[in-house]
Symmetry: C2
């Protein structure tokens, strides 16, 4: 039964997991994402629709954030006057209840990105109705949002009133971002237009209700709505469709008109045809991106679930936005873009949806100016990308944590200043994209400029000391240790970056001499500068213990207190909060292992297999996996090292991060990086896909219970199917 491995269910209603399901059942289409709140609302729910690129910096906030759009889901139903609500318990046995939920099931269909809620509800009058809600955000026309509601009378002859609105009275967890809210309500069409307070983006929504009459249209300051009333007999039913359209000033000069026209046109097309077009687009998405696994159903579902969440956030039609750390599924990290995108979320897109990957890289290209300003402001040359990025390209990492709920203390956040490897991460993603896609045009026009100008930054950043080059005050992937000197990850990746930059320049000189000249002039790539890059490559410190034949995470790491992390199993949270901030800082406990990340990215270049094993056995028992980014990378590297028990264990951990809410913060949104990491753990880790000189090659090591893995990747514009069967050896392209 195919369906079984293509859907997620909630049955019965789990109010205690309200925010979990809101996140995991989010829908989207790469233009916007909408959390799975109920049409009629629920106490303490967190409705949000996040539209790519619509950031705003409220005066009360340290930094800008993605803005929650008006709530287009809004449909309120009453049955004989009783509001349809998800009330599961009779609170007073002696009084007739004000409505009672008798049945509930939600199903997210991953294959066609459609969310369905089925409800059996009894009104105070005794009338009982079955209501089926469906919703999808069209992938065929990303401005169009569709809902269908079917009401069947099971008992009684109720009067049913339906109210459908757009609710602009929304905030980001209490922070108001909208001004100039204008509403429209005429002839069955309702609309809302509003502008963000600081950034001045205008967003407009328009909506109509199909297949319903008569319809009353009601104007309202913040919630225009339509209303209809229908009397139904037993076993009778009514079906209506709500079609909504969204445009912003990023799309067009008159978003209000565009939204109204679009809503009208889509309503004409009708729900069924819109759903068919949407389904067809999704079939094409899955044809390229699905990984099929036989022999492990949990992993199969987890891979589809994570791929789904990457795809619904992936901006297919927009090369001026990128995917935030929490995708578009929650307010976590305020929609900001981190290295998560380039090193975790991008690779599955680079290999399976290269056009989308290109869009995401163009987002960085279009923000080179901001990266250059950051470099200048910090006394460096070239381009230094912000650790957290929004629409502007400026650094938007907050400097302070929120105050502690009890004592009001705040913790200084240093990543904006010191987690500088982000610039190299972007360069890595560009070269990975280029090598897989063969998109020379992108490289010559856009990508090379980033790789080279970030190399310029590193050339100016490296500190010459005692005959070596060093990097002080860094933060590597392991954010438990801040402002360290000679982070092995950052130093070694800087070497890699400069080597790649020199090779790239040589390639350009040969294959694109005009671009080479242009960039040499524009970026001031003088022979002296290039010579210095080579000098840094030759003399950069890479902390290494020659006696123990292992890398050292940073200067002085082994002087810190050793705390064996496995002793803390079966811990529910991280070791870090158990130890407390001060003790953790002074210990060897890692949020994630920098050296494992390094071994994932540049593999054999790190050292011999013996050294890599020493590194693994040193850092694995010190790693807390306090970051959701950690487990998948560890699975990948363990698989490459043939440590299959550890690889499986880490993979299972990664697979449960959102589905099982392993990190306890699913309410804030999907962990985009963990999602992309899972794909990489399978394709790069277990299947060992890599680019050899002759093209893509496999080197598989599957978990013993996996029978077969099948996936597609694009290589130089060609789609290639790979199948790995267990026992491995039966791999074919």
């Amino acid at each position: 039964m195919k369906r079984r491995l293509w859907q997620l269910n909630e049955y019965p209603f789990h109010p205690e997991k309200l925010l979990y399901y809101e996140t995991i059942f989010a829908i989207g289409n790469g233009y916007l994402g909408t959390r799975a709140t109920f049409e009629e609302g629920y106490p303490d729910d967190s409705p949000s629709t996040l539209v790519h690129g619509i950031f705003d910096h409220a005066p009360s906030m340290q930094v800008p954030e993605l803005v929650g759009a008006p709530n287009w889901l809004d449909i309120k139903i009453t049955v004989d006057g009783t509001p349809l609500r998800m009330i599961t318990e009779i609170l007073d046995m002696l009084k007739p209840p004000e409505g009672l939920l008798l049945g509930f099931r939600r199903t997210l269909e991953l294959d066609r990105a459609l969310l369905r809620r089925e409800v059996l509800f009894r009104a105070a009058s005794g009338a009982t109705v079955r209501v089926v809600f469906e919703r999808f955000a069209s992938l065929a026309d990303v401005h169009v949002l569709c809902q269908r509601v079917r009401i069947v009378v099971v008992e009684g002859t109720p009067e049913i009133v339906v109210e459908s609105g757009i609710d602009a009275d929304v905030t980001n967890n209490g922070v108001a971002h909208w001004k100039n809210i204008q509403t429209h309500a005429a002839d069955g069409l309702i609309g809302v237009t509003a502008t963000t307070q600081q950034s001045g983006y205008t967003l407009s929504m328009a909506s109509c209700l199909n297949r319903v009459s008569p319809l009353e249209t009601i104007a309202h300051d913040t919630r225009p709505h339509v209303r209809t009333l229908v009397n139904l007999g037993q076993n009778q039913e009514v079906v209506f469709d709500k079609i909504t359209s969204v445009y912003t000033s990023r799309d067009t000069v008159d978003p209000a008109q565009a939204a109204q026209n679009s809503a009208h046109a889509a309503a004409q097309t009708g729900y069924d045809a819109l759903l068919q077009a949407h389904t067809d687009e999704w079939a094409a998405y899955w044809r390229d991106t699905d990984i099929e696994i036989e022999g492990d159903e949990r992993s199969q579902v987890a891979l589809r679930f994570t791929a789904y969440h990457i795809l619904i956030a992936a901006p297919r039609h927009d090369d001026d936005v990128s995917i935030g750390a929490k995708t578009l599924s929650g307010y976590g990290y305020k929609g900001h873009v981190f290295w998560d995108t380039e090193l975790f979320i991008l690779p599955p897109l680079t290999l399976s949806q290269p056009k989308i990957a290109r869009n995401l890289l163009m987002y960085r290209y279009k923000r080179l100016a901001g990266a250059r300003r950051k470099a200048r402001a910090n006394g460096y040359e070239g381009a230094m990308f912000p650790w957290e990025s929004t629409d502007t390209g400026e650094e938007t990492t907050p400097q302070w944590s929120d105050p502690h709920p009890i004592d009001g203390t705040r913790i200084r956040i240093w990543t904006g200043e010191h987690e500088q490897h982000i610039s190299t991460d972007i360069a890595y993603a560009i070269l990975q994209y280029w090598r897989w896609s063969g998109d020379d045009e992108f490289l010559m026009k856009y990508g090379a400029e980033i790789v080279l100008d970030t190399a310029v930054f590193w050339g100016s950043r490296a500190e010459e000391k005692n005959g070596r080059y060093e990097l002080s005050q860094q933060i590597g992937p392991d954010e438990y240790h801040e402002n360290v000197d000679n982070s092995v990850f950052t130093n070694r990746m800087t070497i890699w970056h400069l080597v790649e930059a020199l090779n790239l320049l040589a390639w350009l000189q040969k294959h694109a001499p005009t671009d080479a000249e242009r960039l040499t002039a524009a970026l001031d790539l003088t022979p002296a500068r290039l010579a210095k890059w080579q000098d840094i490559i030759n003399r950069m410190v890479v902390p290494f213990d020659t006696e123990k034949q292992r890398h050292i995470q940073f200067d002085g790491f082994f002087d810190l207190e050793y705390i064996p992390v496995p002793n803390y199993e079966p811990r529910v949270g991280g070791v870090w909060p158990m130890l407390g901030h001060q003790r953790a800082l002074g210990s060897q406990v890692l949020k994630q292992a920098d050296i494992v990340m390094l071994m994932a990215l540049i593999g054999d270049q790190v050292g011999s297999r013996a050294i890599m094993l020493n590194n693994w056995h040193t850092y694995y028992p010190r790693t807390d996996h306090g970051s959701s980014l950690s487990p998948a990378m560890h699975a990948w590297v363990a698989a490459r090292l043939g440590l299959m028990d550890e690889a499986e264990y880490m993979f299972d951990h990664a697979a449960g991060i959102d589905l099982e809410d392993n990190k306890g913060n699913i309410r804030d949104g999907i962990h985009g990086a963990a999602s992309g990491g899972l794909w990489q753990a399978v394709v790069f880790g277990f299947c060992g896909l890599h680019l050899a000189e002759t093209g893509p090659k496999l080197d598989p090591r599957l978990p013993p219970h996996w029978k077969r893995v099948k996936f597609n990747v694009y290589y130089r514009g060609e789609r290639r199917e790979f199948v790995v069967e267990n026992p491995v050896g039966v791999a074919r392209a």
Copy 2:
């Protein structure tokens, strides 16, 4: 990874599902069952150890019940004075907590029936310990219960105090059953001996703590215990084993001495050797009983989970007890034995563990006297088995429900009087056992007497009216309709029973003439009586609608209100409570479909395929599955009819009854019948195993996503392995 499909996990701690896990993680060995309460207790937990056969009728109760034994799990640990408890939240952020649970995982290993709890706990002093609890009820020596506790210091140098007791201060949900509680505490050995109030069974437990010194032994009126104190440094650990033994006056004349001797001896043997012997016994159990499924991991785990719960309740060494409807895993139905045993739980044992099946049938044989008394008391002849049975063999169905919590009304329970098909269900189980096992000796000595004397009952029970035989005032499997006339299930099964009885007598006359003579004399099987049986066979009413070519569940069924059950999807509870008692009684809504049950039991004898399909399509949309017995039987019959969508849907429902608490009452114990039904749905339903003239034969129809099913059955003492591969046709024995 084999383990994945052989275990169940709880991670992290789910206090809201406390009673769910108490039931599903119960352990047992066919002698007793113990719910998965924590060693140290927890608020509102429901500790219970139920020992087969130990019933007691308290004066305050309508009927007797299985008695909760003293709590042998009792181990209390303090760390620097802080009691180890499963507290998951800091209640007051400003005060140091009185202990905090930092980590938790429980694992039930189905393959060796071992429950493990891993805990990471921080005391108020800051000392942090990792504690691993293991427990199993030995299958190698069913009187022996083993616990191991390992404490590892992760942080600090705590003083650890361990107290291990046997707690006789126990009740059945408030009802006290024990008197003459005597305790023993000397030389490290503690013991409790007590006697049930009304029935006078004596039960004794003795326990000692291994690998610990010094040990203080503390006498106490109801909770003798030992205590030890150990100071541990960081990373140090202590391991101790608690070995307990249980005997009752059903086993020996001096249970106290037996328990003490046994505890001593087992302690000498030691935990590791006891575990090894236990594991070996379980390996043999699984070799015979496991069903392997490829292609459906949820179903695989569900089948192992349900088989586990049947096996831990199955009395391997005792032919004077039977398995209650809720096994030994909870107080539901007071430990009483229903038809659940013979038609649902027995078949998997009959085919895979025939010796245990024989024990369960002997339980009925030994209660023939009670069945004869019930027949006499009701004015009938022969043997009329009680609907609910305990140790005495008397009818122990309560006549009234508990009072309604609001208005105090009680509902009359009629099953004890009118659900008379139980006698035929037992006859069915005997003949099924005989045909598969070839155990002629059992049949001749014991089984035949039951089949024939229950036939005598029916011969006296049938009412001759208007030239036909009828049965008035019956309750079929569908208990929503009480005291109906001419229940198609009961009438038709009575015909089947009388036919089988006549055949059996002929078989005995040929193969065991002495037994035939003995039984003919003893049961007064006169030619006139046998002629009446044949007359009943010929003229018994079987309600049938010749126009619509379908069976009628009972006289007047189609005059009741028709309520289409599918309209109530996705209901969370039954339709019955939604409709209310009065309306439901007057409607066609079925708890389970009598005719589907009939088609399961006697298949083609019910009618042509066309009639069977008419029956299905008539009754399926009327069936509420308000009984946990219903879904598996429906899956079986749907598969035999080739209705694979319905078969899968019903199978999934059956598979989730306990694992997903589909019926909402898992706290009361495992649904034994649903567990056995699941096995039958696979073996008899999807695989189509049946006895042809030449022996066991398959007729498989697998769900499309199932790749392969493998199982073993015993046929006439030989173990036969069957494999069904999909697409079917590749079946082999």
